[in-house]
C-alpha cells in the first residue's frame, strides 16, 4: 500500500464509503418520494420522520454495540415489550411506582441483557441461540403476566412527555433523547477504553484477550447496554402510544439489524461508525414511510421492503475475498 492511499484512508476514516452510500440512498428516497407527493420534502414531514426514527435509533444503538463485538441480539422484540409493560406496570403502584416507572422498565431490560451477556461471555453459548431463547422466555413471562391481553396499565405522564412532548418548541423530546444517547455512544466508542476494547474484541477476540483485556466483562456489559437501550425504546414507545401492547417490539428486530448493517457496521464485528447507524436508521424509517403511503397491500409492502434491504446491502462494496 502506498503512502498516498494510507493518508487517504486516515482522512476517509470518518467518511466510510458505506456511510456515504447510506446518505446517498436517503437523498434518493426523498427525491423518489417527492415525485409521488410534494409534501415529502416539507419540514413537517421530515421532522415527523425524525421523530419516528428516534425510537428505532435508540434500539439500534444497543444493537450496534453488540454487532461491533461480532455478536447479535435477537431478544430485541420482547425486551422492548418487557420494558414497556414493566414500566406501565410499575405506574400502577402509587406515586413511588410512577416515579420509578422509567428506571424500572430500563432495569428489566438490563436484566435481560445481563442474562444474554453471561450466556455469551461466560457460558460461551452462541449469541444467536441465547438471545433467541431469552426472547422466548421474556415473551412467556410477559404473556403469563398480562394473561395474553393488552395490559390495562397505562403509561405515566413522564413517559408520555418524553415520547410526545417538546421541551424546545419544534423539536420533539424523543429526537433530543436520541441525540443525547447518540452523542454518548460516539464518546464511548471513540474516547474510552471500553470503546477501544469493543473494536478490539470485534476484530480479533483472541488478540484482545492476549492483550490483557477482560473480554468477557466487556461482552457482558455490551449485552446489558443493548438490553437496557431496547427496554428504554420500549418505555418511550409505550409513552408514545399511552400504553404497552403485546407484540409492540416485533417490528423492531429486522429494522434495527438492517439499520446497523446498512450503516456500514460489519456484521462480523470490529468495523463501523455511529454516523453510519444514524444514516441506516433514517434510511429504514424513510423506506417504511414511503411504502406505507403507497396504495399497496401489506403483503406487497413487506416484499418490497425486504427486497430493497437486500438490494441496498448488495450496493455496498464488499472487500475482495482474501486469497
Amino acid at each position: 500500500m502506498t503512502r498516498a492511499t494510507e493518508r487517504k484512508q486516515g482522512f476517509m476514516r470518518s467518511l466510510d464509503p458505506a456511510v456515504l452510500t447510506a446518505f446517498g440512498c436517503i437523498v434518493l428516497l426523498l427525491v423518489l418520494g417527492s415525485f409521488y407527493s410534494r409534501s415529502f420534502l416539507s419540514p413537517e414531514y421530515l421532522l415527523q420522520q425524525l421523530k419516528v426514527a428516534s425510537f428505532l435509533g435508540i434500539i439500534a444503538t444497543g444493537m450496534m454495540l453488540v454487532v461491533l463485538l461480532g455478536q447479535i441480539d435477537l431478544s430485541v422484540p420482547w425486551t422492548v415489550a418487557t420494558g414497556a409493560m414493566m414500566a406501565c406496570a410499575a405506574a400502577a403502584y402509587g406515586p413511588l411506582g410512577t416515579t420509578l416507572a422509567i428506571p424500572f422498565g430500563i432495569l428489566c431490560g438490563i436484566g435481560i441483557g445481563l442474562f444474554n451477556g453471561v450466556g455469551v461471555a461466560y457460558l460461551r453459548i452462541p449469541s444467536m441461540i441465547v438471545t433467541l431463547a431469552t426472547n422466548a422466555v421474556a415473551q412467556g413471562v410477559m404473556v403469563v403476566y398480562t394473561g395474553g391481553f393488552s395490559p390495562q396499565d397505562s403509561a405515566t405522564a413522564a413517559m408520555r412527555y418524553l415520547a410526545t412532548g417538546a421541551l424546545i418548541p419544534g423539536i420533539p423530546n424523543v429526537v433530543f433523547i436520541w441525540a443525547l444517547i447518540g452523542a454518548a455512544m460516539v464518546f464511548l466508542l471513540r474516547r474510552t477504553g471500553f470503546g477501544r476494547a469493543v473494536y478490539g474484541i470485534g476484530n480479533r477476540e483472541r488478540a484482545a484477550y492476549l492483550s490483557g483485556i477482560n473480554t468477557r466483562r466487556i461482552v457482558m456489559t455490551a449485552f446489558a447496554a443493548s438490553g437496557g437501550l431496547s427496554a428504554f425504546g420500549g418505555v418511550l414507545l409505550a409513552g408514545y402510544a399511552s400504553k404497552a401492547a403485546q407484540s409492540m417490539g416485533d417490528a423492531y428486530l429486522l429494522p434495527a439489524i438492517a439499520a446497523v448493517v446498512l450503516g456500514g457496521t460489519s456484521i462480523l464485528g470490529g468495523r463501523g461508525s455511529y454516523l453510519g447507524t444514524v444514516a441506516g436508521v433514517i434510511l429504514i424509517t424513510l423506506l417504511q414511510s414511503i411504502l406505507s403511503v403507497t396504495q399497496m397491500p401489506e403483503a406487497g409492502r413487506q416484499i418490497i421492503y425486504g427486497v430493497v434491504i437486500i438490494l441496498m446491502l448488495l450496493l455496498y462494496g464488499r472487500a475482495p475475498a482474501s486469497r
Binding site: R13, F194, Y199, R206, Y209, G212
Partner: protein, 513 residues
C-alpha cells in the same frame, strides 16, 4: 512423454499479505518421476509457494506452466482438476465422517444423484492400498484413528484424485518412525510410477534419503536449485540461514550474578502436553526455549501467561507462589508479565485497526482516567515507543495491516513495552521478518535485559538461540530435556538434544516416560 523437460514450472511468483512480503520473484520447476525437496527456514515462503501451486491462494505476480502450457488456478478444485494434489501439514479431514467419506469428499461417485457407497468404498480401498495402509478400514470414523493414521488417510485422500503432481507439506512431522518408513516406500513407488512429488520437510535426513532435486528458499526468494547430493549439509544450512546471520547478534555479558530468580516454575504440567517443567529466570537474563517445533514451547509460554486452564505445579514470581488466571492478571503491576504472541495476524494485532489503537490496546488501563482515554498521555507514550523501536509508519492513524511485517512485529513488541514489563515472554518473534528488523529486535532484547528485564524467548531458529541467549532450555515432548548455558550452546548440541539423541556431551536428565 517428454522426459527431462519440466512438468510444472513457476516463475517470478510474488505474493504479499497486506504489507508483508511472503514471496518475491520466486520460482520452482518440477519434473515427472522425481522427488523435489523444498528447503528453507520457517517463514521462508515455502508454504505460500505450495498454496499458490495448489490454488489455495492466488499469486500477485508471476506465471505457472504445466506441460509447457500456461495455467492459472482459481481454486483448489481447479488445481486438482489439472492434476495437482496437496497434503497439507494441518490435517484437513472431517473427524465425524468415515475414512471413505473423507477420501472422496470433493468428488464423490454418484449413481442417480446419490452417493454410490459401493464405488466410494472401492475408491477408498484402492487409495488406501496405494498409500500403503490397506489395514485402515474405510468405514472407520476419522476421529477414532490415531494422529499418524490420520496423516496416512490424508495422503490417500490426495492419491484418490489421481494426481500427476503430489505435494507433501510437512506430511511426516506427525508420524512415528515406523509410519515414516512406510510412507517413504509409498513415495518411492509413486516416483517410479512417474509422479512428480514436491516434498517439504525440516528433517534433513529425510531429504537426504528421498530427494532427487532440491530448492532452497530464504526470505521469500529462491536461493538455489541443485541436484540432491551435490551440496554438503553445511552448505545447505548456510544457504538456508544466509551468511549475514553470523554477525548480527549483540555481544553477551559474561557470567551473570546469581541473584534470586524473578520467575520460577516447579513441576509445571498441563494435560498431556507439558510434563514437570522446572526452571528459573533471572532479571537481566535472556533464556531461550529450543527444540523441534511443537514440543510444548508454545504451551509453556501460554501457561505462564495464564491462558491455559488446569495447570499443575507451581509458578513463583519473586519467590512467592502465585496463580495467574488470565492475561489481565499476568500483566498486573506486581507481576508485570508480557507475552509477544506467535502469530501477528491473529494474536498480536488487529490488522484493520490503526497503529495508534493497536499500540495502546494493552495499556488501556494505564492510559485512561475514569475510563476515558487521556489523549495527551496516549500520544506521548506512542511517540516514545515509535522512537524507541524506530517503527516506520507514515501515519499512526493508518491500519496496522498496511505496515511491513517487520514493522508490524515492532508494533506488537512496542504495545507491550509500553507497560514496562519485568518478565517478557516471546513466542518466535522474528518469524517471517527481514534480517534488518531481526537485528534490531536482538539489540532491543539485549538492551531490555541489561535494563533489568527477564526474557524468555522461544525461537524455531537455532542461530538465534545461539546468538541471543544466555541459557537455552531444550524441550522435547513437553519436558525440559536439557539446559545449555554459555559456550555449551552450539548448533550441534541444540540439534542433538532437540532430537533427543545422546550426543558426546552428557545429558542432564533421563528421558521421562
Amino acid at each position: 512423454m517428454e522426459n527431462g523437460g519440466p512438468l510444472f514450472r513457476m516463475e517470478g511468483i510474488s505474493k504479499r499479505y497486506g504489507g508483508v512480503r511472503a514471496l518475491e520473484n520466486a520460482g520452482l520447476s518440477v519434473r515427472a518421476g522425481a522427488i523435489h525437496a523444498v528447503l528453507g527456514e520457517n517463514g521462508a515462503g515455502k508454504s505460500t509457494l505450495i498454496k499458490i501451486m495448489a490454488g489455495v491462494v492466488a499469486a500477485d505476480e508471476g506465471q505457472m506452466t504445466l506441460d509447457a502450457q500456461p495455467v492459472k488456478f482459481a481454486s483448489p478444485a481447479a488445481a486438482n482438476a489439472a492434476g495437482i494434489a496437496c497434503v497439507f501439514q494441518e490435517l484437513s479431514l472431517i473427524p465425524e465422517l468415515s475414512v471413505a467419506d473423507n477420501i472422496v469428499i470433493s468428488n464423490p461417485p454418484t449413481r442417480f444423484g446419490m452417493i454410490d457407497r459401493k464405488a466410494q468404498r472401492r475408491i477408498a480401498e484402492e487409495a488406501l492400498a496405494r498409500a500403503g495402509a490397506a489395514d485402515i478400514h474405510p468405514l472407520a470414523l476419522v476421529k477414532d484413528l490415531p494422529l499418524s493414521r490420520k496423516q496416512i488417510v490424508e495422503i490417500a485422500k490426495a492419491l484418490a484424485r489421481k494426481p500427476r503432481i503430489l505435494i507433501l507439506d510437512e506430511a511426516t512431522s506427525a508420524l512415528t518412525a515406523a509410519d515414516v518408513s512406510k510412507v517413504f516406500a509409498v513415495l518411492k513407488r509413486l516416483r517410479a510410477e512417474g509422479l512428480a512429488l514436491v516434498y517439504i520437510s525440516h528433517r534433513m535426513n529425510e531429504i537426504a534419503e528421498l530427494a532427487d532435486d532440491c530448492t532452497v528458499f530464504r526470505n521469500g526468494s529462491k536461493v538455489a536449485s541443485y541436484a540432491a547430493g551435490t551440496r554438503s549439509d553445511a552448505e545447505v544450512i548456510e544457504m538456508m540461514i544466509g551468511r549475514e546471520y553470523h554477525s548480527v547478534y549483540p555481544p553477551k555479558p559474561g557470567r551473570l550474578a546469581q541473584i534470586a530468580p524473578v520467575l520460577e516454575t516447579r513441576n509445571l504440567s498441563w494435560a498431556d502436553r507439558l510434563h514437570d517443567i522446572s526452571f528459573s529466570l533471572r532479571s537481566g537474563e535472556i533464556v531461550g526455549l529450543g527444540g523441534l517445533d511443537g514440543q510444548g514451547q508454545r504451551d509453556l509460554l501460554l501457561a505462564l501467561f495464564g491462558v491455559l486452564r488446569g495447570l499443575r505445579g507451581t509458578v513463583l514470581v519473586d519467590g512467592s507462589p502465585i496463580s495467574i488466571g488470565s492475561p489481565a492478571q499476568a500483566r498486573r503491576h506486581g507481576i508485570g508479565m508480557a507475552l509477544i504472541p506467535e502469530d501477528r495476524k491473529t494474536e498480536g494485532l488487529m490488522q484493520p485497526m490503526t497503529v495508534r489503537d493497536n499500540l495502546s490496546l494493552a495499556s488501556l488501563d494505564r492510559l485512561t482516567r475514569g475510563g476515558i482515554i487521556d489523549r495527551a498521555k496516549e500520544e506521548s507514550a506512542i511517540n516514545q515507543m515509535m522512537t524507541l523501536l524506530a517503527i516506520k509508519a507514515g501515519n499512526i492513524d493508518a491500519p496496522v495491516g498496511a505496515l511491513s511485517g517487520g514493522n508490524q512485529q515492532k508494533v506488537v513488541i512496542a504495545k507491550w513495552l509500553m507497560r514496562q514489563p519485568r518478565i517478557i515472554l516471546l513466542n518466535d518473534p522474528t518469524r517471517g521478518i527481514d534480517v534488518g528488523t531481526k537485528q534490531e529486535i536482538y539489540l532491543l532484547l539485549r538492551r531490555l535485559a541489561d535494563e533489568g528485564a527477564a526474557i524468555l524467548f522461544y525461537s524455531t531458529d537455532y542461530a538465534e538461540l545461539i546468538g541471543c541467549c544466555d541459557r537455552v532450555l531444550v524441550l522435547y515432548d513437553g519436558t525440559v530435556k536439557r539446559e545449555l548455558a554459555g559456550a555449551e550452546i552450539t548448533e550441534r548440541a541444540l540439534i542433538a538434544s532437540a532430537l533427543n539423541i545422546p550426543s558426546a556431551e552428557p545429558t542432564q536428565r533421563e528421558p521421562a516416560q
